[in-house]
């Protein structure tokens, strides 16, 4: 019916307004993608300064992978690689912890009495509403107050804070869909709670956990505000804070351009593959 409605609506409209509507969307997209295109275009030139074109070359990609700038005969800033390393470590560990913590929490919250459930759901929503600067500052004050010196551990803890609520939210709908009796049935048949969790509930919750994990990964990689306040001054940098420090100095490490071009293209390809797959599945079910 929806399809039919759409058609009828389109038929009502003149060709002109249809083209105008389409043009508007594409215009927005062009503006939205212009800076990214700029990054990609300038990843194919060697110039140190972003915005100067000094001829087409794959030089920066070479530098990025070899870690050595053959033209200027200097090493590519080693802090860049450390930043990449720590970004990955922080993202993976905080996503992992969040997924475990969040899944357990979701199961717990689901089986709570109404009042407790409301309290926890409210608490769960705080880190999602809180802007990153406030999360960052509040944790900064906490670590200072408790005399914990800031570093990798505090950054991971901080990332778990803002990732876990999303895991809870993505696991929750799975629980509502699940047959509530199978866990009890497993226990009655002599399984320990851990076994019941692993053998009976986990298979049902996997999709929610995976999407929570992936969401946590992306949130963690993209985060700047919270990391900025919790990383301390031990020289720990993630890509975000590295870029910020770079930008404040005015010069952007040139190898960031190919790095993010590659990240962008990877994601683009992944999305396209996912889209094709879901499309095929839809066709099959039809």
């Amino acid at each position: 019916m929806f399809e039919n409605y759409k058609k009828s609506k389109i038929e009502q409209r003149g060709l002109g307004s249809r083209i105008a509507a389409q043009a508007y969307l594409w215009l927005l997209l062009v503006v939205l993608y212009a800076p990214i295109l700029l990054i990609i275009i300038f990843s194919f030139t060697q110039s140190k300064v972003f915005g100067n074109w000094t001829g087409f070359t794959f030089g920066l990609y070479e530098n990025l992978f070899t870690g050595y700038d053959a033209v200027a005969q200097v090493k590519v800033d080693p802090n860049l690689y450390r930043a990449i390393f720590f970004t990955v470590v922080i993202a993976l560990s905080s996503a992992l912890i969040s997924t475990v913590l969040g899944t357990l929490a979701a199961i717990g919250i689901y089986h709570m009495r109404n009042r407790d459930r409301k309290i926890l759901t409210f608490m769960n929503s705080i880190p999602m509403i809180n802007p990153d600067i406030l999360t960052g500052i509040s944790l900064f004050l906490l670590f200072v107050f408790l005399g914990i010196s800031r570093g990798l551990g505090t950054v991971i803890a901080a990332h778990v804070v803002f990732c876990t609520p999303y895991v809870v939210l993505s696991v929750m709908p799975r629980l509502t869909k699940m047959n509530p009796n199978i866990y009890e049935a497993a226990l009655d048949l002599g399984a320990t709670p851990f076994q019941a969790l692993r053998k009976v509930m986990m298979p049902e919750l996997w999709p929610g956990m995976i999407s929570g994990f992936i969401l946590s990964l992306t949130l963690s990689i993209d985060d700047f505000g919270v990391t900025y306040f919790t990383k301390g001054s031990s020289g720990l940098e993630t890509l975000s804070t590295f870029i910020y420090a770079d930008a404040r100095k005015g010069g952007l490490t040139p190898e960031l351009r190919p790095l993010f071009s590659l990240i962008f293209l990877t994601i683009l390809v992944l999305l396209i593959i996912m889209n094709i797959r879901t499309h095929k599945q839809q066709n099959k079910t039809k």
């Binding site: 913590l101 969040g102 802007p131 406030l134 900064f140 004050l141 107050f145």
Partner: protein, 257 residues
Amino acid sequence: MVFQSRSTWAWPYALFMLCLVILPLVLIGVYAFTDADGSFTIQNFVSFFTKSEAINTFIYSLAIALITTIICLLLGYPAAYIMAMADFKTPQVMAMLFILPMWINFLLRTIATVELFRMFGLPLGEGALLFGMVYDFLPFMIYPIYNTLQKMDTSLIEAAHDLGAKRHQVFLKVTLPLSVPGIYSGIVMVFMPTVSTFAIAELLTHNKVTLFGSLIQRCFGEGGIAMWNYGAALSLIMLIIIGLTSFFGGDKEDINR
């Protein structure tokens, strides 16, 4: 055994949240109402309301955030509407295209925007700031509106058509009111990050414009010792703004459901 009852499985999380969410927020309050020696004072708030530069920066940031939100709404609603109504073979792809840029680090995108302004010879400043903010947060506006519009019960619109309503009447009387929840969450999702943003303003204006977020950030960096408490006071004020926004936003959403 304790773990037999599954409600206990949330206890580690509850404890974690208590230590790393509730306690830190309480600490903001504690620091806000104490001086550097730890004794009670309201001086931090007094100086916020009496220092022209602090209160002006606050109002200025509110205004910038509001303008950004309004521009996002004006640009985003038509886009969401077109996407939801038009017959694309794959409307999901279109929605995806709007979200994809968010996968690139926002600071890097901002720097690229600065470069873009340079290329066209445009000056950095307030205009660049607004452009950059709209650019960064537009997807947050489009997506929720698109979602509500797409899930909307279309039979209502058909009914309106059948009953002889004109197109603009249908839009004003049916579509728009039905999309209000999406608009609200879009507004909340754009307003909250814009009012608290701190790094982009610096990059987009060559540090010429100070936003409330940057002011807070500075209290925990440059200002030195006494400023932590002042910064906490400013954070508390921002927390109140955020609380109010989400309260009204959430409230309205519930009513419309």
